[in-house]
């Protein structure tokens, strides 16, 4: 997994509440048993003129310059709600999104981001809307900076906002770690738990 430390980049505001994972990647775009090759299907119902087609809809923000180079998304509350499909995150990572800043995320989507090198940042809605307005006035130059080491977002005007992230999630992103390898260090504890639990709840161990 790619490490995340500090990122400065173009941000694309898609300020709608409840953007669900069916919107981020429709089911029909998940064509192969793979984490790859999904970026073409990202936001396909909004990005292309026809369902299943590939003719770009010029009105959609990610089809416009300079947002085609965006590495940060700004959005509204409950981003990534709905289906657990990790394909939504794989598609975004492949397309080039490295951070998403919203007032709130769907729980499963948030966890999927952390496991794929995308930093989910939660900031107050008023701040996200302010950042969106600043970006829109000059997207080429009004870049946003995200620093995971000190958990801060710096707006184009130099204002700095701090955000919270669970230490385990922060470590995984900063180090680009494999979660299974970290947990396997506790193999002894897992086995000891099972031995105790077998006495308390034997019916679990079928």
């Amino acid at each position: 997994m790619e490490k995340f430390t500090v990122l400065e980049g173009i941000a694309a505001p898609i300020m709608r509440i409840n953007i669900d994972t069916d919107v981020i990647i429709p089911s029909r775009e998940m064509k192969r048993v793979s984490k790859e090759g999904l970026s073409d299907g990202m936001f396909s119902n909004w990005r292309y003129t026809e369902p299943g087609g590939r003719e770009e809809n010029p009105d959609f923000i990610l089809n416009q310059e300079p947002y085609r180079q965006a590495s940060i998304l700004l959005s509204s509350d409950n981003f990534g709600c709905g289906s657990s499909r990790e394909h939504a995150v794989w598609a975004m990572a492949e397309w080039g999104i490295r951070a998403i800043i919203t007032p709130g995320f769907g729980n499963i989507f948030y966890g999927n981001c952390v496991r794929n090198g995308i930093l989910p940042v939660i900031l107050d809605n008023k701040i996200v809307e302010k950042l969106a307005k600043q970006v829109e006035s000059d997207p080429d130059n009004n870049l946003i900076k995200v620093n995971l080491k000190n958990c801060s977002v710096t707006g184009p005007d130099g204002n700095k906002y701090s955000f919270k992230i669970a230490p385990a999630d922060q470590e995984m992103l900063l180090e680009g770690l494999d979660g299974i390898a970290i947990t396997m260090r506790q193999d002894h504890e897992i086995m000891a738990f099972q031995e105790r639990d077998k006495l308390k709840r034997p019916w679990i161990y079928i």
């Binding site: 669900d20 998940m30 709905g82 657990s84 709130g104 966890g111 019916w203």
Partner: protein
């Protein structure tokens, strides 16, 4: 110290406290399906990792499989066959329990999990599927995860999780005739938004919950994800024990008493406190129908489509305008009377025998309206068999419904099948997102009885005006 049921289950599964509210949690049961489980199993193979305790992992084929009679591995979705065959091969190689096509036990993960006794009170159960919270209906702590987390759970039998906040939603009072668990959960989401539950594990409590059948509790918990919640459950009671007893993967008779004693301890202590409390009076609930593109866009059948201009919050107003545009509806239109093109009964929300029985009671001796395409997809092979033994299939087909093989089917477009562009569907499913049931398809969520009644009328209708006698309560 007094504890909630959520904290009790959490403590009984905590292997290590990792600090800052995060724990290494033991996972009792892992369920997979061919859509997202395929990638997880393939990922494990690629990293040369084994499934730890494969006897406690389960896999079904439900998401992409065709549901038309006489089906095989071929799917309407291009490339779908590869998902089915990759999953089968990997599941067999890993030695996990597989409910494959052709096996009568095959069906929707969250329908067969209770049916087989895989979901039990007090277990932790995960599945790379957002509707896993359904199993909270039995008192399980169950939640949806991504494919990478599923790999983690399969390889280690654990997950690293931040402890959720707790919420109690208390439903008091009597449900009126024609009002179901589906209407209860839609009411909660409508009142408290699709983000109202973010970060919470919920206990559903109150005398109205005690009276719900187990299958109705599964429906209620199924849509906790649409409320934004991490999980939701109902404390187990005598009804739960009676439901579980004798099922294939349930505790054997010689372990039964020990299991029941343990399960009886899984009650919230009287003095325990929750981070948030919500109370709803069931006597205020009428049959609910969604009008927009989020489950929070829903109203009582006796109401009119809301006017975005009346909404003070700009974000919500914009989302309402967009939704009405997508749905082709005007503010002020009565919900009762909106014409439909199609009706769908199925999905992990409402495809169990009790759902089909309730819909059949409406359909019996009646015909669906001309021009309406209607489909019923039982939730599992065993649900289908049980319904057929009661003659329910005949009632559906005589009324003009198609009667299908089990699977997720047209709850979403993965099967590659859709009702069509701008077709309006009344649906017993859980999501009315843009393009969810197919490109530009317009979905209205409702209970199976409201779907059946609307199919007969040819427009969205108040099921209470059709003669019925039963509710989801005893």
């Amino acid at each position: 110290m007094p504890q909630t049921i959520i904290e009790k289950i959490w403590d009984d599964h905590q292997i290590t406290d990792l600090g800052d509210g995060t724990s290494l949690i033991y996972i009792d049961r892992i369920f997979l399906h061919e859509r997202t489980g395929s990638v997880a199993l393939k990922g494990l193979e690629a990293s040369n990792r084994d499934v730890r305790d494969p006897e406690q992992a389960f896999c079904t084929m439900d998401h992409i499989v065709d549901t038309t009679p006489g089906r095989d591995d071929n799917t309407r979705m291009p490339g779908g066959t590869a998902f089915i065959q990759t999953t089968r091969k990997a599941a067999l190689a890993a030695g996990i329990n597989l409910f494959d096509l052709g096996d009568q036990r095959q069906g929707i993960a969250h329908v067969i999990s209770p049916e087989q006794g895989i979901a039990l009170p007090g277990v932790t159960l995960v599945c790379p599927d957002s509707h896993t919270g359904t199993l909270g209906g039995l008192g399980a702590l169950a939640w949806g995860i991504g494919s990478t987390e599923a790999e983690h759970a399969l390889a280690t039998k654990t997950l690293v999780i931040k402890k959720p906040k707790t919420m109690r939603v208390t439903f008091n009072g009597e449900l009126s005739t024609g009002v179901t668990a589906k209407d209860m959960i839609l009411t909660l989401i409508g009142r408290h938004t699709a983000a109202g539950g973010i970060g919470y594990a919920i206990e559903f409590a109150g005398n109205a919950i005690s009276k719900l059948s187990i299958e109705a509790r599964l429906t209620l918990c199924n849509m906790t994800i649409e409320f934004g919640a991490w999980s939701g459950l109902v404390a187990p009671d005598e009804k739960t024990f009676e439901y579980v007893r004798g099922r294939p993967f349930a505790p054997a008779e010689d372990q039964w008493d020990q299991a029941v004693t343990y399960w009886q301890s899984l009650q919230t202590d009287p003095e325990a406190s929750f981070d948030k409390e919500i109370t709803i009076d069931c006597s205020e609930i009428v049959p609910q129908v969604s009008w927009g593109t989020s489950p929070m866009h829903e109203i009582g059948i006796d109401r009119h489509i809301p006017n975005p201009a009346d909404e003070p919050n700009e974000n919500i107003r914009t989302s309402m305008e967009r939704a009405l545009d997508y749905m082709g509806l005007e503010p002020g239109t009565p919900m009762d009377g909106v014409p439909i093109d199609a009706a769908f009964i199925g999905s992990c929300t409402n495809s169990r025998v009790s759902d089909l029985r309730a819909a059949a009671e409406i359909l019996k001796g009646r015909k669906i309206a001309d021009g309406v395409k209607a489909i019923c997809v039982p939730g599992s092979g065993l649900v289908k068999k049980a319904a057929e033994e009661e003659g329910i299939d005949k009632i559906f087909t005589d009324a003009g419904f198609e009667w299908r093989e089990s699977g997720c089917s047209m709850c979403f477009y993965a099967g590659g099948e859709s009702f069509g562009l701008e077709e309006r569907v009344i649906s017993s499913t859980n999501r009315n997102f843009e393009n969810r049931q197919g490109p530009r398809t317009r979905t209205h969520l409702a209970s199976p009885t409201t779907v059946a009644a609307s199919a007969i009328k040819g427009h969205i209708t108040d099921v209470r005006n059709i003669n019925i006698s039963k509710t989801d309560q005893d």
